[in-house]
């Protein structure tokens, strides 16, 4: 299991990378492993408003469907449309496969650093 130190994490297993004023959001290695093979993703649209702690879309694996909880509030300024055609990238490269970029960010969930998030995952098993 991989927990890059430069990222922040939500307890619901999304990662956030601050790129200047822009928050880049994806799902963690732990999340993709728990989901299994991802076959579909429902993405928001550019210009949509997302709210910290609420669903921004969902990912669907063979086994189950799971909400992606937005770790930040703000306006979606870019969507990784390539994921719609290649959702398996979420499994093979969870930290490269960003889902949305949010700017401006108006609010943020309580986020964990890599060590705290790793401990949180260990607790969830």
């Amino acid at each position: 299991m991989n927990f890059p130190a430069e990222l922040k994490y939500s307890k619901s297993h999304e990662w956030v990378k601050m790129d200047g004023e822009v928050a880049v959001v994806g799902i963690s290695d732990f999340a993709q492993d728990a989901l299994g093979d991802v076959v579909f993703i429902n993405l928001p649209a550019e210009g949509d408003t997302v709210t910290a702690g609420e669903s921004l879309g969902d990912v669907e694996s063979v086994k189950a469907v799971s909400d992606v909880i937005s770790p930040v509030s703000g306006t979606v300024c870019a969507v990784n449309e390539a994921l719609a055609d290649a959702p398996e990238t979420l499994n093979s490269d969870p930290y490269g496969a960003w889902i949305i970029r949010v700017s401006p960010v108006t609010d943020t969930e309580e986020l964990l650093d890599a060590a705290a998030y790793e401990a949180h995952c260990a607790e969830e098993g």
Partner: protein
């Protein structure tokens, strides 16, 4: 407490993700993942631990009469080594379980039943016995492995002579000597499965299961054989439109509703009178493909495109080989028309489906 098969520790050691199913702790997938495991079975071969299945034996002078009374299928024309698909029905004609019945001898029949229904079936069978019949629940004595996929015959041939391998679908050979390298064991080999693919189910003594598992994996390595979990078993059976108890069948659903073979003439069985009285069913099982993206899963309600509620989805998944979402469900008979589009309520969002013929996937013979 959940039961474990003889292979439980083997699954854990191999990185299998363990879930509860039918009262057993079983691997839902290995690190390879459901998609890879599914495709291995369609293209090469996969090995499943299905030791959770139950085995009930009825033996003795009145075994035939008891089995005939209990199950939907007529066993009078079966020969030794034949297998038939059948159901137990309750007095109202609802399905208690579905299973396959093996004729081991003219006075010896073996029912291989669903793990989750094993205790219920055993109680039902035991409660309806009559005459001179010896009944035994042998569930704990057997291990069962399913070797499925186009390469399964070649793999099996490395463990036993070809003469022992049942050449016809739904037939079996008993007491087959399987060479595991260190020693030879005896097993029952049947050409059956729950994947819609060519393959075999191998029944061995519970204590031989782990060794047989490793011997098969080793023999199959050169053919691309990999261990598979219950996740792939479910996507494979769904892609082949095979019904699953608790989804397409339950005690309120009759064989006719489920579209399963059940002759009401020729012989009597428990539930037959009720089924005759019920006549043609109002709701029937249908197969559907998702139009576009998405997955419609069990419990989703089905609607007409105009928004009128019709029925429900009983199972659904992404079908890896076909490459789209597939589902089965129940709607009124008069609404069934191949090519018709329906909507399913998936978490508050409508997902469009098309009614298609079953099976979704059929092996080319």
């Amino acid at each position: 407490m959940e039961r474990k098969t003889p292979l439980y520790q083997t699954h854990v050691d191999a990185g299998g993700k363990i879930v509860e199913f039918g009262g057993f702790l079983m691997p839902v997938q290995y690190p390879t993942g459901v998609l890879t495991e599914h495709m291995a079975v369609r293209e090469k071969a996969g090995l499943f631990d299905v030791s959770h299945m139950g085995e009930l034996r009825l033996r003795g002078p009145d075994a035939v009469a008891n089995v005939q009374k209990l199950i939907t299928a007529d066993i009078s024309t079966m020969q030794d080594g034949d297998i038939k698909y059948a159901m137990l029905c309750n007095d109202a004609g609802g399905i208690i379980d579905d299973f396959i019945v093996y004729r081991c001898a003219a006075d010896d029949y073996w029912l291989v039943v669903n793990a989750g229904n094993r205790d219920k079936d055993a109680a039902w069978v035991e409660g309806h016995l009559f005459g001179d019949v010896d009944y035994r629940d042998e569930g704990d004595e057997w291990g069962q492995l399913a070797l499925q996929g186009p390469k399964s015959g070649e793999i099996l041939k490395k463990l036993c002579a070809e003469q022992y391998i049942p050449a016809k679908y739904y037939t079996f050979t008993d007491n087959v000597p399987l060479d595991l390298g260190e020693r030879t064991i005896r097993a029952l080999v049947s050409q059956t499965g729950y994947t819609g693919e060519y393959g075999f189910e191998i029944y061995c003594k519970a204590e031989d299961t782990v060794e047989l598992w490793h011997a098969l994996l080793k023999a199959g390595e050169e053919f691309g054989l990999i261990p598979c979990g219950l996740g792939a078993r479910d996507t494979l059976r769904l892609e082949a439109s095979m019904p699953l108890y608790g989804h397409e069948m339950n005690e309120e659903i009759t064989p006719k509703m489920a579209g399963l073979p059940c002759k009401l003439t020729g012989k009597d069985f428990i539930g037959r009178d009720a089924l005759v009285a019920l006549g043609a069913p109002k709701m029937k099982r249908i197969g559907m493909k998702v139009v576009g993206r998405g997955i419609v899963r069990e419990h989703c309600d089905l609607y007409t495109m105009e928004g009128e509620k019709l029925g429900w989805a009983s199972s659904g998944t992404f079908a890896p080989f076909i490459g789209c979402g597939v589902a089965m469900g129940y709607i009124p008979v008069e609404d069934i028309e191949i090519g018709r589009h329906l909507n399913a309520d998936v978490r508050g969002r409508m997902v469009e489906l098309e009614i298609v013929p079953m099976p979704f996937y059929k092996l080319e013979k």
